[in-house]
Protein backbone atom coordinates (compact mmCIF):
# COMPACT_ATOMS: atom_id res chain seq x y z
CA UNK A 1 0.00 0.00 0.00
CA UNK A 2 2.69 2.42 1.10
CA UNK A 3 5.01 1.19 -1.63
CA UNK A 4 2.52 1.79 -4.39
CA UNK A 5 1.96 5.29 -3.09
CA UNK A 6 5.69 5.96 -3.30
CA UNK A 7 5.83 4.54 -6.81
CA UNK A 8 2.93 6.67 -7.84
CA UNK A 9 4.73 9.67 -6.45
CA UNK A 10 7.82 8.85 -8.47
CA UNK A 11 5.88 8.37 -11.64
CA UNK A 12 4.27 11.76 -11.34
CA UNK A 13 7.52 13.40 -10.37
CA UNK A 14 7.84 15.47 -13.50
CA UNK A 15 4.28 16.61 -13.24
CA UNK A 16 4.85 17.79 -9.69
CA UNK A 17 7.80 19.97 -10.64
CA UNK A 18 5.62 21.52 -13.31
CA UNK A 19 3.07 22.24 -10.67
CA UNK A 20 5.65 23.80 -8.39
CA UNK A 21 6.69 26.10 -11.20
CA UNK A 22 3.13 27.13 -11.74
CA UNK A 23 2.80 27.99 -8.10
CA UNK A 24 5.84 30.21 -7.99
CA UNK A 25 4.53 32.30 -10.81
CA UNK A 26 1.05 32.43 -9.45
CA UNK A 27 2.11 33.37 -5.89
CA UNK A 28 3.79 36.51 -7.20
CA UNK A 29 0.94 37.02 -9.62
CA UNK A 30 -1.57 36.74 -6.81
CA UNK A 31 0.25 39.35 -4.70
CA UNK A 32 0.53 41.71 -7.65
CA UNK A 33 -3.14 41.42 -8.49
CA UNK A 34 -4.52 41.75 -4.97
CA UNK A 35 -6.35 44.91 -4.00
CA UNK A 36 -4.33 45.08 -0.75
CA UNK A 37 -1.13 45.31 -2.79
CA UNK A 38 -2.36 48.29 -4.77
CA UNK A 39 -3.71 50.03 -1.70
CA UNK A 40 -0.33 49.47 -0.03
CA UNK A 41 1.37 50.98 -3.06
CA UNK A 42 -1.01 53.95 -2.99
CA UNK A 43 -0.35 54.33 0.74
CA UNK A 44 3.38 54.32 0.16
CA UNK A 45 3.08 56.94 -2.59
CA UNK A 46 0.88 59.09 -0.37
CA UNK A 47 3.35 58.88 2.51
CA UNK A 48 6.29 59.82 0.26
CA UNK A 49 4.33 62.70 -1.25
CA UNK A 50 3.20 64.01 2.14
CA UNK A 51 6.71 63.80 3.61
CA UNK A 52 7.97 65.85 0.69
CA UNK A 53 5.12 68.36 0.94
CA UNK A 54 5.09 68.71 4.70
CA UNK A 55 8.28 67.66 6.54
CA UNK A 56 6.49 67.38 9.90
CA UNK A 57 4.44 64.53 8.41
CA UNK A 58 7.39 62.18 8.40
CA UNK A 59 8.62 62.98 11.89
CA UNK A 60 8.93 60.22 14.45
CA UNK A 61 6.26 61.90 16.59
CA UNK A 62 3.70 62.01 13.82
CA UNK A 63 4.38 58.40 12.86
CA UNK A 64 3.87 57.43 16.50
CA UNK A 65 0.56 59.27 16.41
CA UNK A 66 -0.69 57.88 13.13
CA UNK A 67 0.18 54.28 14.02
CA UNK A 68 -1.49 54.64 17.42
CA UNK A 69 -4.59 56.18 15.87
CA UNK A 70 -5.24 53.47 13.34
CA UNK A 71 -4.15 50.48 15.43
CA UNK A 72 -7.47 50.02 17.32
CA UNK A 73 -9.37 50.29 14.02
CA UNK A 74 -7.00 47.83 12.37
CA UNK A 75 -7.39 45.41 15.27
CA UNK A 76 -11.15 45.52 14.80
CA UNK A 77 -10.75 45.23 11.04
CA UNK A 78 -9.04 41.90 11.64
CA UNK A 79 -12.17 40.68 13.41
CA UNK A 80 -14.40 42.25 10.76
CA UNK A 81 -12.39 40.55 8.02
CA UNK A 82 -13.14 37.13 9.52
CA UNK A 83 -16.86 37.93 9.64
CA UNK A 84 -16.88 39.41 6.14
CA UNK A 85 -15.10 36.34 4.73
CA UNK A 86 -18.04 34.23 5.92
CA UNK A 87 -20.30 36.57 3.94
CA UNK A 88 -21.62 38.38 7.01
CA UNK A 89 -21.20 41.81 8.56
CA UNK A 90 -20.79 42.98 12.14
CA UNK A 91 -22.36 46.38 12.81
CA UNK A 92 -22.11 46.04 16.57
CA UNK A 93 -18.34 46.50 17.07
CA UNK A 94 -18.50 50.19 17.99
CA UNK A 95 -21.21 49.66 20.59
CA UNK A 96 -19.42 46.61 21.96
CA UNK A 97 -16.42 48.88 22.56
CA UNK A 98 -18.59 51.22 24.60
CA UNK A 99 -20.05 48.41 26.70
CA UNK A 100 -16.64 46.83 27.32
CA UNK A 101 -15.22 50.19 28.39
CA UNK A 102 -18.05 50.85 30.83
CA UNK A 103 -18.03 47.36 32.37
CA UNK A 104 -14.26 47.56 32.83
CA UNK A 105 -14.46 51.14 34.08
CA UNK A 106 -17.13 50.28 36.63
CA UNK A 107 -15.08 47.44 38.13
CA UNK A 108 -12.03 49.66 38.28
CA UNK A 109 -14.10 52.37 39.96
CA UNK A 110 -15.19 49.78 42.51
CA UNK A 111 -11.50 49.20 43.26
CA UNK A 112 -11.20 45.78 41.70
CA UNK A 113 -7.78 44.85 40.42
CA UNK A 114 -7.06 45.61 36.77
CA UNK A 115 -7.07 42.00 35.61
CA UNK A 116 -10.47 41.32 37.15
CA UNK A 117 -11.83 44.44 35.47
CA UNK A 118 -10.24 43.59 32.10
CA UNK A 119 -11.51 39.99 32.30
CA UNK A 120 -15.03 41.22 33.06
CA UNK A 121 -14.84 43.67 30.16
CA UNK A 122 -13.66 40.93 27.79
CA UNK A 123 -16.42 38.62 28.99
CA UNK A 124 -19.05 41.28 28.35
CA UNK A 125 -17.66 41.75 24.85
CA UNK A 126 -17.52 38.02 24.15
CA UNK A 127 -21.10 37.66 25.37
CA UNK A 128 -22.18 40.20 22.75
CA UNK A 129 -20.26 38.23 20.12
CA UNK A 130 -21.85 34.98 21.26
CA UNK A 131 -25.30 36.58 21.03
CA UNK A 132 -24.58 37.72 17.46
CA UNK A 133 -23.07 34.38 16.52
CA UNK A 134 -25.91 32.37 17.99
CA UNK A 135 -28.67 34.19 16.14
CA UNK A 136 -26.78 34.39 12.85
CA UNK A 137 -25.29 30.89 12.76
CA UNK A 138 -27.75 28.69 14.61
CA UNK A 139 -31.04 30.54 14.10
CA UNK A 140 -30.14 31.62 10.58
CA UNK A 141 -31.04 35.31 10.87
CA UNK A 142 -29.33 37.85 8.58
CA UNK A 143 -26.17 39.19 10.20
CA UNK A 144 -27.12 42.75 9.26
CA UNK A 145 -30.25 42.57 11.38
CA UNK A 146 -28.80 40.74 14.39
CA UNK A 147 -25.72 42.96 14.70
CA UNK A 148 -27.82 46.08 14.08
CA UNK A 149 -29.87 44.97 17.07
CA UNK A 150 -26.71 44.44 19.10
CA UNK A 151 -25.45 47.88 18.05
CA UNK A 152 -28.49 49.30 19.79
CA UNK A 153 -28.54 46.91 22.77
CA UNK A 154 -24.86 47.23 23.71
CA UNK A 155 -24.86 51.02 23.47
CA UNK A 156 -28.00 51.24 25.55
CA UNK A 157 -26.54 48.93 28.20
CA UNK A 158 -23.38 51.04 28.29
CA UNK A 159 -25.39 54.21 28.85
CA UNK A 160 -27.56 52.61 31.54
CA UNK A 161 -24.66 50.96 33.40
CA UNK A 162 -22.60 54.13 33.38
CA UNK A 163 -25.49 56.21 34.69
CA UNK A 164 -24.53 58.43 31.76
CA UNK A 165 -21.40 59.47 33.64
CA UNK A 166 -17.80 59.46 32.55
CA UNK A 167 -15.81 57.02 34.69
CA UNK A 168 -12.26 58.05 35.55
CA UNK A 169 -11.65 57.44 39.27
CA UNK A 170 -10.04 54.09 38.68
CA UNK A 171 -8.83 53.16 42.14
CA UNK A 172 -5.48 51.65 43.08
CA UNK A 173 -4.77 49.97 39.73
CA UNK A 174 -5.27 53.13 37.68
CA UNK A 175 -1.52 53.50 36.99
CA UNK A 176 -1.31 49.96 35.63
CA UNK A 177 -4.31 50.48 33.38
CA UNK A 178 -2.80 53.67 32.05
CA UNK A 179 0.58 52.02 31.61
CA UNK A 180 -1.01 49.34 29.42
CA UNK A 181 -2.73 51.88 27.21
CA UNK A 182 0.12 54.38 27.05
CA UNK A 183 3.13 52.09 26.86
CA UNK A 184 5.59 52.67 24.01
CA UNK A 185 8.51 50.75 22.61
CA UNK A 186 11.30 51.38 21.77
CA UNK A 187 11.86 54.54 23.79
CA UNK A 188 14.07 57.52 23.04
CA UNK A 189 16.87 58.44 25.46
CA UNK A 190 17.27 59.03 28.36
CA UNK A 191 14.93 56.12 29.23
CA UNK A 192 15.54 54.11 26.08
CA UNK A 193 18.05 53.40 23.36
CA UNK A 194 16.09 54.29 20.23
CA UNK A 195 17.63 56.92 17.94
CA UNK A 196 15.62 60.14 17.51
CA UNK A 197 14.46 59.34 13.99
CA UNK A 198 12.81 56.14 15.12
CA UNK A 199 9.14 56.38 16.14
CA UNK A 200 8.23 55.18 19.62
CA UNK A 201 5.55 52.70 18.69
CA UNK A 202 2.53 52.47 20.99
CA UNK A 203 1.29 49.35 22.71
CA UNK A 204 -1.78 49.65 20.41
CA UNK A 205 0.48 49.29 17.41
CA UNK A 206 2.31 46.26 18.77
CA UNK A 207 -0.90 44.50 19.77
CA UNK A 208 -2.13 45.08 16.22
CA UNK A 209 1.09 43.70 14.73
CA UNK A 210 0.96 40.56 16.87
CA UNK A 211 -2.73 39.94 16.18
CA UNK A 212 -2.24 40.52 12.46
CA UNK A 213 0.67 38.08 12.34
CA UNK A 214 -1.30 35.45 14.22
CA UNK A 215 -4.38 35.86 12.04
CA UNK A 216 -2.24 35.94 8.91
CA UNK A 217 -0.66 32.63 9.91
CA UNK A 218 -4.08 31.18 10.66
CA UNK A 219 -5.32 32.23 7.22
CA UNK A 220 -2.38 30.60 5.49
CA UNK A 221 -1.83 27.46 7.50
CA UNK A 222 -5.07 26.16 9.01
CA UNK A 223 -8.02 24.09 7.90
CA UNK A 224 -10.22 26.44 9.94
CA UNK A 225 -9.43 29.26 7.53
CA UNK A 226 -10.07 27.01 4.51
CA UNK A 227 -13.51 26.34 5.95
CA UNK A 228 -14.04 30.04 6.55
CA UNK A 229 -13.34 30.82 2.87
CA UNK A 230 -15.47 27.88 1.76
CA UNK A 231 -18.42 29.13 3.81
CA UNK A 232 -18.07 32.56 2.26
CA UNK A 233 -17.87 31.36 -1.31
CA UNK A 234 -20.46 28.59 -1.12
CA UNK A 235 -22.08 27.94 2.22
CA UNK A 236 -24.23 25.15 0.88
CA UNK A 237 -21.19 23.36 -0.53
CA UNK A 238 -19.31 23.71 2.73
CA UNK A 239 -22.26 22.21 4.58
CA UNK A 240 -22.59 19.31 2.14
CA UNK A 241 -18.91 18.47 2.44
CA UNK A 242 -19.24 18.16 6.20
CA UNK A 243 -17.74 21.48 7.31
CA UNK A 244 -19.22 22.56 10.66
CA UNK A 245 -20.60 25.73 9.13
CA UNK A 246 -22.67 26.92 12.10
CA UNK A 247 -19.89 26.50 14.63
CA UNK A 248 -17.36 28.34 12.49
CA UNK A 249 -19.75 31.22 11.76
CA UNK A 250 -20.46 31.47 15.48
CA UNK A 251 -16.73 31.68 16.18
CA UNK A 252 -16.33 34.43 13.58
CA UNK A 253 -18.71 36.75 15.45
CA UNK A 254 -17.12 35.94 18.79
CA UNK A 255 -13.71 36.74 17.32
CA UNK A 256 -14.96 40.05 15.95
CA UNK A 257 -16.32 40.98 19.40
CA UNK A 258 -13.00 39.92 20.94
CA UNK A 259 -11.07 42.32 18.71
CA UNK A 260 -13.51 45.12 19.57
CA UNK A 261 -13.01 44.36 23.27
CA UNK A 262 -9.22 44.46 22.96
CA UNK A 263 -9.38 47.77 21.09
CA UNK A 264 -11.70 49.14 23.75
CA UNK A 265 -9.36 48.16 26.61
CA UNK A 266 -6.39 49.78 24.86
CA UNK A 267 -8.29 53.04 24.33
CA UNK A 268 -9.58 52.95 27.91
CA UNK A 269 -6.01 52.62 29.15
CA UNK A 270 -4.80 55.37 26.83
CA UNK A 271 -7.35 57.93 27.97
CA UNK A 272 -7.45 56.70 31.57
CA UNK A 273 -11.23 57.03 31.49
CA UNK A 274 -14.33 55.22 30.26
CA UNK A 275 -17.17 56.90 28.41
CA UNK A 276 -20.29 55.15 27.15
CA UNK A 277 -19.91 56.89 23.77
CA UNK A 278 -16.62 55.16 23.05
CA UNK A 279 -16.54 53.67 19.57
CA UNK A 280 -19.61 55.51 18.28
CA UNK A 281 -19.55 55.30 14.50
CA UNK A 282 -16.51 53.03 14.54
CA UNK A 283 -18.41 50.21 12.84
CA UNK A 284 -18.49 52.20 9.61
CA UNK A 285 -14.82 53.16 9.81
CA UNK A 286 -13.86 49.55 10.52
CA UNK A 287 -15.96 48.23 7.65
CA UNK A 288 -14.51 50.92 5.40
CA UNK A 289 -10.96 49.94 6.29
CA UNK A 290 -11.71 46.26 5.81
CA UNK A 291 -13.31 46.81 2.43
CA UNK A 292 -10.58 49.16 1.20
CA UNK A 293 -8.10 46.45 2.21
CA UNK A 294 -9.76 44.13 -0.28
CA UNK A 295 -12.16 41.99 1.75
CA UNK A 296 -15.15 41.03 -0.38
CA UNK A 297 -18.52 41.95 1.14
CA UNK A 298 -20.04 39.05 -0.80
CA UNK A 299 -17.86 36.71 1.25
CA UNK A 300 -15.08 34.31 0.39
CA UNK A 301 -12.15 36.72 0.31
CA UNK A 302 -10.12 38.83 2.73
CA UNK A 303 -6.64 39.01 4.24
CA UNK A 304 -5.09 40.13 7.52
CA UNK A 305 -2.63 42.32 5.63
CA UNK A 306 -5.47 43.99 3.78
CA UNK A 307 -7.33 44.75 7.02
CA UNK A 308 -4.29 46.54 8.44
CA UNK A 309 -3.42 48.35 5.21
CA UNK A 310 -6.99 49.52 4.64
CA UNK A 311 -7.23 50.97 8.14
CA UNK A 312 -3.80 52.59 7.84
CA UNK A 313 -4.81 54.10 4.52
CA UNK A 314 -7.89 55.77 5.99
CA UNK A 315 -5.92 57.24 8.89
CA UNK A 316 -3.10 58.50 6.69
CA UNK A 317 -5.62 60.24 4.43
CA UNK A 318 -7.23 61.84 7.47
CA UNK A 319 -3.89 62.92 8.87
CA UNK A 320 -2.66 64.15 5.49
CA UNK A 321 -5.75 66.31 4.96
CA UNK A 322 -5.24 67.76 8.41
CA UNK A 323 -1.58 68.51 7.73
CA UNK A 324 -2.30 69.96 4.33
CA UNK A 325 -4.61 72.38 6.10
CA UNK A 326 -7.74 71.22 4.32
CA UNK A 327 -10.95 71.83 6.25
CA UNK A 328 -11.60 68.71 8.32
CA UNK A 329 -15.19 68.68 7.09
CA UNK A 330 -13.88 67.42 3.77
CA UNK A 331 -12.64 64.21 5.37
CA UNK A 332 -15.93 62.39 5.01
CA UNK A 333 -16.08 63.13 1.31
CA UNK A 334 -12.58 61.81 0.70
CA UNK A 335 -13.04 58.70 2.81
CA UNK A 336 -16.37 57.99 1.13
CA UNK A 337 -14.84 58.36 -2.29
CA UNK A 338 -12.08 55.90 -1.48
CA UNK A 339 -14.57 53.35 -0.18
CA UNK A 340 -16.57 53.51 -3.38
CA UNK A 341 -13.49 53.39 -5.59
CA UNK A 342 -12.02 50.46 -3.70
CA UNK A 343 -15.20 48.41 -3.79
CA UNK A 344 -15.77 49.31 -7.42
CA UNK A 345 -12.33 48.00 -8.34
CA UNK A 346 -12.78 44.95 -6.15
CA UNK A 347 -16.11 44.15 -7.79
CA UNK A 348 -15.16 44.70 -11.40
CA UNK A 349 -12.01 42.73 -11.15
CA UNK A 350 -13.22 40.13 -8.65
CA UNK A 351 -9.71 39.39 -7.51
CA UNK A 352 -7.81 40.30 -10.68
CA UNK A 353 -5.83 43.45 -11.16
CA UNK A 354 -6.80 47.00 -11.75
CA UNK A 355 -4.41 46.89 -14.68
CA UNK A 356 -6.36 44.03 -16.23
CA UNK A 357 -9.58 45.96 -15.92
CA UNK A 358 -8.11 49.01 -17.56
CA UNK A 359 -6.62 46.86 -20.31
CA UNK A 360 -9.96 45.20 -20.91
CA UNK A 361 -11.62 48.56 -20.99
CA UNK A 362 -9.15 49.90 -23.56
CA UNK A 363 -9.56 46.81 -25.74
CA UNK A 364 -13.30 47.13 -25.52
CA UNK A 365 -13.07 50.79 -26.50
CA UNK A 366 -11.07 49.96 -29.58
CA UNK A 367 -13.60 47.39 -30.77
Amino acid sequence: MKLSAIQATEETHAAISDIVNIREQSALHRVMTSQAFWVAAALFALVVFMTWLEPTFGTADNVTNITRNFAPLAIMSLGMTVVIITGGIDLSVGSVMGLVAIVTGLLLTWHHSWYVAFAAGLLAGLACGAFNGFFVAYIGMPSFVVTLGMLSIARSLAVVLSGNQMLYQFGPDAPIVRAIGQAKWPLHPPTGWAPRWMPEFSSHFWVMVILALILGAIFIFTAWARHLYAIGSNENAARLTGVSVDWIKFQAYVFSALTASIASLLLLGYSGSAINAMGTGYELRVIAGTVIGGANLMGGYGTAFGAVIGSAFLEVIRNALLMAGIDSNWQGAFVGMFIVIAVLLGMQTSGTSLVATIREWIVWKRV
Binding site: T12, R23, F221, Y229, A237, T241
Partner: protein, 246 residues
Protein backbone atom coordinates in the same frame (compact mmCIF):
# COMPACT_ATOMS: atom_id res chain seq x y z
CA UNK B 1 -26.18 -8.81 -3.61
CA UNK B 2 -26.88 -5.30 -4.82
CA UNK B 3 -24.73 -2.45 -3.56
CA UNK B 4 -27.73 -0.16 -3.21
CA UNK B 5 -31.24 -1.44 -2.72
CA UNK B 6 -34.05 1.09 -2.65
CA UNK B 7 -37.17 -0.60 -1.25
CA UNK B 8 -40.68 0.88 -1.71
CA UNK B 9 -39.59 4.42 -1.02
CA UNK B 10 -42.20 7.14 -0.69
CA UNK B 11 -41.58 10.79 0.10
CA UNK B 12 -44.13 13.50 0.73
CA UNK B 13 -43.59 17.20 1.28
CA UNK B 14 -46.82 18.13 3.02
CA UNK B 15 -49.54 17.50 0.45
CA UNK B 16 -47.06 16.98 -2.41
CA UNK B 17 -46.19 13.35 -3.03
CA UNK B 18 -42.78 13.57 -4.68
CA UNK B 19 -42.11 9.81 -4.70
CA UNK B 20 -44.52 6.91 -4.44
CA UNK B 21 -43.49 3.31 -3.77
CA UNK B 22 -40.26 3.31 -5.81
CA UNK B 23 -37.93 0.31 -5.72
CA UNK B 24 -34.77 -0.37 -7.68
CA UNK B 25 -31.23 -1.51 -7.11
CA UNK B 26 -27.72 -0.68 -8.25
CA UNK B 27 -25.03 -3.36 -8.46
CA UNK B 28 -21.35 -2.80 -7.80
CA UNK B 29 -19.63 -1.27 -10.82
CA UNK B 30 -22.93 -0.59 -12.54
CA UNK B 31 -23.92 2.71 -14.12
CA UNK B 32 -27.64 3.34 -13.79
CA UNK B 33 -29.42 6.21 -15.49
CA UNK B 34 -32.34 7.85 -13.71
CA UNK B 35 -34.63 9.70 -16.09
CA UNK B 36 -37.93 11.52 -15.91
CA UNK B 37 -39.66 14.78 -16.72
CA UNK B 38 -39.22 17.95 -14.66
CA UNK B 39 -40.67 17.34 -11.22
CA UNK B 40 -40.73 13.56 -11.66
CA UNK B 41 -38.84 13.17 -8.39
CA UNK B 42 -35.26 12.47 -9.54
CA UNK B 43 -33.54 15.04 -7.36
CA UNK B 44 -35.69 14.00 -4.44
CA UNK B 45 -34.50 10.43 -4.92
CA UNK B 46 -30.86 11.57 -4.98
CA UNK B 47 -31.34 13.59 -1.82
CA UNK B 48 -32.90 10.63 -0.05
CA UNK B 49 -30.02 8.35 -0.94
CA UNK B 50 -27.48 11.06 -0.11
CA UNK B 51 -28.99 11.59 3.32
CA UNK B 52 -30.30 15.14 2.91
CA UNK B 53 -33.60 14.00 4.42
CA UNK B 54 -35.14 10.66 5.40
CA UNK B 55 -37.89 8.93 3.35
CA UNK B 56 -41.52 9.08 4.54
CA UNK B 57 -41.80 5.33 3.95
CA UNK B 58 -39.58 2.51 2.75
CA UNK B 59 -35.97 1.61 3.28
CA UNK B 60 -32.57 2.31 1.77
CA UNK B 61 -30.27 -0.69 2.01
CA UNK B 62 -26.56 -0.25 1.38
CA UNK B 63 -24.45 -3.41 1.18
CA UNK B 64 -27.17 -5.39 2.89
CA UNK B 65 -27.43 -2.91 5.74
CA UNK B 66 -30.64 -0.89 6.24
CA UNK B 67 -29.67 2.77 6.62
CA UNK B 68 -31.55 5.70 8.06
CA UNK B 69 -29.68 8.78 6.95
CA UNK B 70 -30.50 12.11 8.48
CA UNK B 71 -27.42 14.01 7.38
CA UNK B 72 -25.15 13.82 4.30
CA UNK B 73 -22.18 12.84 6.49
CA UNK B 74 -23.93 9.64 7.48
CA UNK B 75 -24.43 8.63 3.86
CA UNK B 76 -20.83 9.51 3.10
CA UNK B 77 -19.70 7.20 5.89
CA UNK B 78 -21.40 4.38 3.94
CA UNK B 79 -19.45 5.26 0.80
CA UNK B 80 -22.07 7.36 -0.98
CA UNK B 81 -20.91 10.61 -2.59
CA UNK B 82 -22.90 13.17 -4.55
CA UNK B 83 -21.62 15.22 -7.44
CA UNK B 84 -23.54 18.33 -8.40
CA UNK B 85 -22.87 20.63 -11.32
CA UNK B 86 -22.45 23.81 -9.25
CA UNK B 87 -23.59 23.13 -5.75
CA UNK B 88 -20.73 21.52 -3.94
CA UNK B 89 -17.61 23.48 -4.87
CA UNK B 90 -16.21 26.60 -3.23
CA UNK B 91 -15.23 28.97 -6.04
CA UNK B 92 -12.60 30.89 -4.12
CA UNK B 93 -10.60 27.83 -3.16
CA UNK B 94 -8.20 25.89 -5.36
CA UNK B 95 -8.95 22.51 -6.90
CA UNK B 96 -6.84 20.74 -4.27
CA UNK B 97 -8.45 22.65 -1.41
CA UNK B 98 -11.87 21.69 -2.73
CA UNK B 99 -10.97 18.03 -3.05
CA UNK B 100 -9.86 17.99 0.57
CA UNK B 101 -12.49 20.37 1.96
CA UNK B 102 -13.63 19.10 5.34
CA UNK B 103 -10.96 16.38 5.48
CA UNK B 104 -7.69 18.26 5.09
CA UNK B 105 -4.38 16.53 5.61
CA UNK B 106 -2.56 18.14 8.53
CA UNK B 107 0.89 17.92 10.01
CA UNK B 108 2.60 18.98 13.25
CA UNK B 109 1.31 18.82 16.78
CA UNK B 110 -1.45 20.69 18.50
CA UNK B 111 -1.71 23.68 18.83
CA UNK B 112 0.48 24.04 15.78
CA UNK B 113 -1.35 21.61 13.56
CA UNK B 114 -1.11 23.15 10.14
CA UNK B 115 -2.23 22.18 6.65
CA UNK B 116 0.03 19.84 4.75
CA UNK B 117 -0.46 21.65 1.46
CA UNK B 118 2.25 19.75 -0.41
CA UNK B 119 0.68 16.37 0.34
CA UNK B 120 -2.78 17.56 -0.58
CA UNK B 121 -1.61 19.06 -3.84
CA UNK B 122 0.31 15.89 -4.70
CA UNK B 123 -2.62 13.61 -3.89
CA UNK B 124 -5.07 15.81 -5.77
CA UNK B 125 -2.68 15.80 -8.73
CA UNK B 126 -2.62 11.99 -8.64
CA UNK B 127 -6.41 11.84 -8.60
CA UNK B 128 -6.65 14.18 -11.60
CA UNK B 129 -4.05 12.07 -13.39
CA UNK B 130 -6.05 8.93 -12.68
CA UNK B 131 -9.10 10.65 -14.13
CA UNK B 132 -6.96 11.78 -17.09
CA UNK B 133 -8.21 15.29 -16.50
CA UNK B 134 -6.21 18.38 -17.28
CA UNK B 135 -7.01 19.97 -13.98
CA UNK B 136 -4.22 21.63 -12.04
CA UNK B 137 -4.45 21.29 -8.25
CA UNK B 138 -3.43 24.89 -7.57
CA UNK B 139 -5.90 26.56 -9.92
CA UNK B 140 -8.87 28.37 -8.46
CA UNK B 141 -12.14 26.58 -9.16
CA UNK B 142 -13.64 29.93 -10.14
CA UNK B 143 -11.51 29.94 -13.28
CA UNK B 144 -12.29 26.38 -14.33
CA UNK B 145 -14.42 24.96 -17.10
CA UNK B 146 -17.53 22.95 -16.33
CA UNK B 147 -15.68 19.73 -17.20
CA UNK B 148 -12.80 20.55 -14.89
CA UNK B 149 -15.23 21.38 -12.10
CA UNK B 150 -16.80 17.97 -12.58
CA UNK B 151 -13.34 16.43 -12.34
CA UNK B 152 -12.77 18.21 -9.03
CA UNK B 153 -16.09 16.99 -7.70
CA UNK B 154 -15.42 13.45 -8.88
CA UNK B 155 -11.90 13.54 -7.44
CA UNK B 156 -13.56 14.33 -4.10
CA UNK B 157 -15.59 11.17 -4.43
CA UNK B 158 -12.53 9.13 -5.42
CA UNK B 159 -10.57 10.45 -2.46
CA UNK B 160 -13.00 8.90 -0.03
CA UNK B 161 -13.08 5.60 -1.94
CA UNK B 162 -16.79 6.00 -2.56
CA UNK B 163 -18.69 2.88 -3.56
CA UNK B 164 -21.54 4.79 -5.17
CA UNK B 165 -21.42 8.19 -6.82
CA UNK B 166 -24.70 10.02 -7.45
CA UNK B 167 -24.56 12.60 -10.24
CA UNK B 168 -27.47 15.02 -10.55
CA UNK B 169 -27.47 16.53 -14.03
CA UNK B 170 -23.68 16.82 -14.32
CA UNK B 171 -23.91 17.64 -18.01
CA UNK B 172 -26.73 20.17 -17.85
CA UNK B 173 -24.83 23.40 -18.48
CA UNK B 174 -21.58 22.54 -20.21
CA UNK B 175 -20.20 22.43 -23.74
CA UNK B 176 -20.16 19.38 -26.00
CA UNK B 177 -16.45 18.82 -25.45
CA UNK B 178 -16.87 19.03 -21.70
CA UNK B 179 -19.79 16.60 -21.81
CA UNK B 180 -17.50 14.09 -23.48
CA UNK B 181 -14.99 14.73 -20.70
CA UNK B 182 -17.56 14.04 -17.99
CA UNK B 183 -18.79 10.86 -19.69
CA UNK B 184 -15.19 9.70 -19.85
CA UNK B 185 -14.87 10.36 -16.11
CA UNK B 186 -17.95 8.22 -15.49
CA UNK B 187 -16.41 5.36 -17.50
CA UNK B 188 -13.26 5.61 -15.42
CA UNK B 189 -15.26 5.40 -12.21
CA UNK B 190 -17.02 2.32 -13.56
CA UNK B 191 -13.79 0.65 -14.59
CA UNK B 192 -12.40 1.12 -11.10
CA UNK B 193 -15.42 -0.69 -9.68
CA UNK B 194 -17.42 2.32 -8.50
CA UNK B 195 -21.17 2.38 -9.12
CA UNK B 196 -22.69 5.50 -10.61
CA UNK B 197 -26.25 6.79 -10.66
CA UNK B 198 -26.54 9.34 -13.44
CA UNK B 199 -29.43 11.76 -13.64
CA UNK B 200 -29.74 13.48 -16.96
CA UNK B 201 -32.26 14.82 -19.42
CA UNK B 202 -29.84 14.16 -22.26
CA UNK B 203 -30.77 10.94 -23.99
CA UNK B 204 -27.43 10.43 -25.81
CA UNK B 205 -25.41 10.75 -22.59
CA UNK B 206 -27.51 8.19 -20.79
CA UNK B 207 -27.40 5.77 -23.69
CA UNK B 208 -23.60 6.11 -24.03
CA UNK B 209 -22.61 5.31 -20.47
CA UNK B 210 -25.48 3.62 -18.64
CA UNK B 211 -25.94 -0.13 -18.25
CA UNK B 212 -29.53 0.27 -17.13
CA UNK B 213 -32.14 3.01 -17.19
CA UNK B 214 -34.80 3.67 -14.55
CA UNK B 215 -37.64 5.98 -15.53
CA UNK B 216 -39.77 7.92 -13.06
CA UNK B 217 -43.06 9.56 -13.92
CA UNK B 218 -44.89 11.71 -11.39
CA UNK B 219 -43.09 10.05 -8.52
CA UNK B 220 -43.61 6.43 -9.59
CA UNK B 221 -41.26 4.06 -11.36
CA UNK B 222 -42.57 3.22 -14.83
CA UNK B 223 -39.58 1.38 -16.28
CA UNK B 224 -36.32 -0.31 -15.32
CA UNK B 225 -34.64 -1.56 -18.48
CA UNK B 226 -31.21 -2.61 -19.64
CA UNK B 227 -29.89 -0.05 -22.07
CA UNK B 228 -29.24 -2.69 -24.71
CA UNK B 229 -32.90 -3.76 -24.65
CA UNK B 230 -34.50 -0.38 -25.11
CA UNK B 231 -34.28 2.65 -27.36
CA UNK B 232 -34.30 6.41 -26.98
CA UNK B 233 -37.77 6.45 -28.55
CA UNK B 234 -39.17 4.04 -26.00
CA UNK B 235 -37.59 5.92 -23.09
CA UNK B 236 -38.92 9.23 -24.41
CA UNK B 237 -42.38 7.69 -24.61
CA UNK B 238 -42.10 6.44 -21.05
CA UNK B 239 -40.97 9.82 -19.77
CA UNK B 240 -43.76 11.75 -21.44
CA UNK B 241 -46.40 9.16 -20.70
CA UNK B 242 -47.04 8.28 -24.34
CA UNK B 243 -46.10 4.74 -23.34
CA UNK B 244 -47.74 3.82 -20.03
CA UNK B 245 -45.34 1.26 -18.64
CA UNK B 246 -42.64 -1.17 -19.73
Amino acid sequence: MALLDVRSISKSFGAIRALHDVSFSVDAGEVVGLMGDNGAGKSTMVKLIAGNFPPSEGAIVVDGKACHFHRPIEARAEGIEVVYQELALADNLTAAENVFLGREIKKGFWPLRILDKQSMIRRAGELFDELKSETRPRDLVKKMSGGQRQAVAIARARLSNAKLVLMDEPTAAISVRQVAEVLELIRRLKSSGVSVMLISHRMPDVFTVCDRIVVLRRGSKVADKETAKTSPEQITGLITGAIREA
